[in-house]
Symmetry: C2
Subunit: 97 residues, 2 copies
């Protein structure tokens, strides 16, 4: 699940229209639409608002948000998956420092 999918899910579960949520986030509905379709990313600060609004863990939203950035980096790459593996190794390794 992507961050956009998750946001749409939360919004729909709570019965809101895009326009309503957009207003709470202080953005236009067009922009929110793009966010839900993963064509744009919300800024990080807005994740806090979302977690409070929908009462979900902030860290979960951050994970999805970050994942989106990572995926964006590799989505059109041939070596994308390999690169992910390498990065993972580096992350694991440097954690034990």
């Amino acid at each position: 699940m992507t961050i956009g999918q998750r946001i749409r899910q939360l919004r729909e579960e709570s019965g809101m229209k895009q326009r309503e949520l957009a207003a709470k986030l202080d953005i236009g509905e067009g922009f929110l639409s793009k966010v839900e379709n993963d064509q744009k990313l919300l800024k990080r600060d807005d994740l806090k608002k979302l977690s409070e609004l929908f009462n979900v863990a902030h860290s979960d939203l951050e994970t999805l948000w970050l994942a989106n950035k990572v995926y964006d980096l590799i989505k059109d790459e041939n070596q994308g998956l390999d690169a992910l593996k390498v990065a993972e190794e580096q992350a694991k390794y440097s954690k034990g420092k």
Copy 2:
């Protein structure tokens, strides 16, 4: 292994000094030093030069180069590893489209 480590390895195996390789890449030695220490990234085009110069697979260098970008994105993040996993799922999923 990071892209910087790999470049240093290739350079040393071929007995070059930083200054020499830097000249071939048309950059300063200071910049190359940072590249080898993963403080700066070479631009992508230079990978081609490297692969020809050292006769190694271009795709391998690209994988390491990309991995560096990915790692940069998550290295200071608490949810970094989780995000990597999520991104991996997305990559695998969308490959079968």
